[in-house]
């Protein structure tokens, strides 16, 4: 049994906060580069090149890629060999968030009271999802989620007899409604099945899959491809000013659900799709 310390967890989370916010994921950068290469619209191409230049400056100068350094969402996968007995994982993670956001000169975007909008919590707390997994080690993943795109999230509870067309129309309509506002080109995370709350979680988790990788199940991957094509046919483009690149990827996660329902959650990420992950062993 491996025993981890709170100190190691905090230090790791700190490092991941800074890495995620200043170092654009290689798969996202590659997808932007590919989009710039394929883009026929001159202005869209210019914007995509600006975004690549932005990523370069952020990495070189350890500057936040975007000033919205997000609401930190942390995924904790606890392997079978990890002994958490007596560890205050939640506090350790939030200490790490505070440390990372301070050290990285990231923005404190969190208000303590969602109604009065008052009070500072001094960074965080993160939204933390704990999960026990049939693997070894403890994996920490930090996904700082910008809120321009988070605000475009939608959940719809379909009838179980809904046709594929209805589901696709809903997902495409979420992107159409987001339009130019949430910093396209987007990555579209989709959770299908389970319950309302779990579908929403799956839609966020789907953003962690590297761009360019499709769902391992054929009919789900086919749906992802069809959706990507339809979304790019919207012609929203970078900054919403037209062009081919409306989405860089469409990622679906599914889960068994009740025979009476079909939850579909859509969580959009802006082009600054950030996450960083570390495995403690």
């Amino acid at each position: 049994m491996k025993k981890l310390t709170e100190k190691l967890i905090s230090a790791t989370v700190s490092r991941l906060c800074i890495r995620a916010n200043t170092n654009l994921r290689p798969d996202v950068e590659a997808a932007l580069r590919r989009a710039a290469r394929l883009e026929k619209n001159a202005r869209a191409r210019k914007i995509l090149r600006q975004l690549l230049e932005n990523a370069r400056i952020a990495r070189a100068e350890s500057l936040a890629i975007c000033q919205d350094t997000g609401l930190p969402v942390v995924f904790v996968e606890i392997g079978r060999d990890i002994n958490c007995l007596g560890l205050d994982l939640e506090s350790a993670i939030n200490t790490g968030i505070r440390g990372g956001y301070e050290k990285g000169f990231l923005r404190n975007s969190i208000v303590a009271d969602p109604l009065s909008r008052g009070g500072s919590t001094g960074f965080g707390p993160a939204v933390i999802h704990f999960e026990f997994v049939p693997r070894r080690g403890l994996r920490l993943t930090v996904l700082p989620k910008g809120f321009g795109c988070e605000n475009k999230t939608q959940l719809k509870m379909f009838n179980p007899t809904a046709r594929g067309r209805e589901i696709k129309d809903f997902i495409v309509s979420v992107v159409r409604e987001a339009g130019p506002d949430a910093c396209p080109p987007y990555t579209v995370g989709i959770g299908i099945g389970a319950s309302a709350d779990h579908a929403a979680l799956l839609s966020k988790k789907a953003l962690l899959r590297p761009l360019g990788k499709w769902h391992p199940t054929d009919h789900v991957a086919a749906l992802e491809r069809e959706l990507l094509r339809e979304i790019n046919d919207l012609g929203i483009g970078p900054m919403g000013l037209g062009g081919r690149a409306t989405a860089l990827g469409v990622h679906i996660l599914t889960h068994p659900t009740h025979m009476a329902g079909l939850p579909v959650a859509v969580n959009i990420s802006c082009h600054v799709l950030r996450s960083a992950s570390a495995l403690l062993k």
């Binding site: 500057l63 936040a64 990231l106 909008r117 605000n151």
Partner: protein
Amino acid sequence: MLYSNRKIIRLRTPLRDTDLQALKAGDEVLLCGTVFTARDQAHRRLVDLIRGGSGLPLDLKGQAIYYCGPTKTAPGKVIGSCGPTTSSRMDRFAQPLLEAGLKGMIGKGRRSEEVRRLIQKHGAVYFLATGGAGAFLSKRVIRARPLLFEDLGPEAVYELTLKDFPLLVGIDTKGRDVFEM
């Protein structure tokens, strides 16, 4: 989609009516001079001050507001990452600020039909900055100082001095909207 074949236009604050009237939605602009940052809570306060009759603590005549809440400034830097935030959240505050003489708004995304009409009525311009390019844009800010509402942290009003800050005309003085072209 409209392509602007016109050359890049240099503008300076305070914005002059004649310069603004020459702009067309889709034009590329490089902005120099000072602008004020303000986002949700700062807008609410500014508008509360106007409605409360106590007047504004800053003169908005011919000025531009940048919808932006930068990251913290690291030592040796002028400012942190400082891209635009979603403009539509500020739609509900546009009228009193335009009536106070505001001539430019800088942000990202669409504006409401009401704001489009107000922009036309007041001969103002809505500019777009590239969303999610805060590191890139920080290189075009040569000076930054907190001005008002420092208790709001990143939502405080800062006075930024810009040098060749790259923008696109989103809605021009005639009410033409780049997203509708």
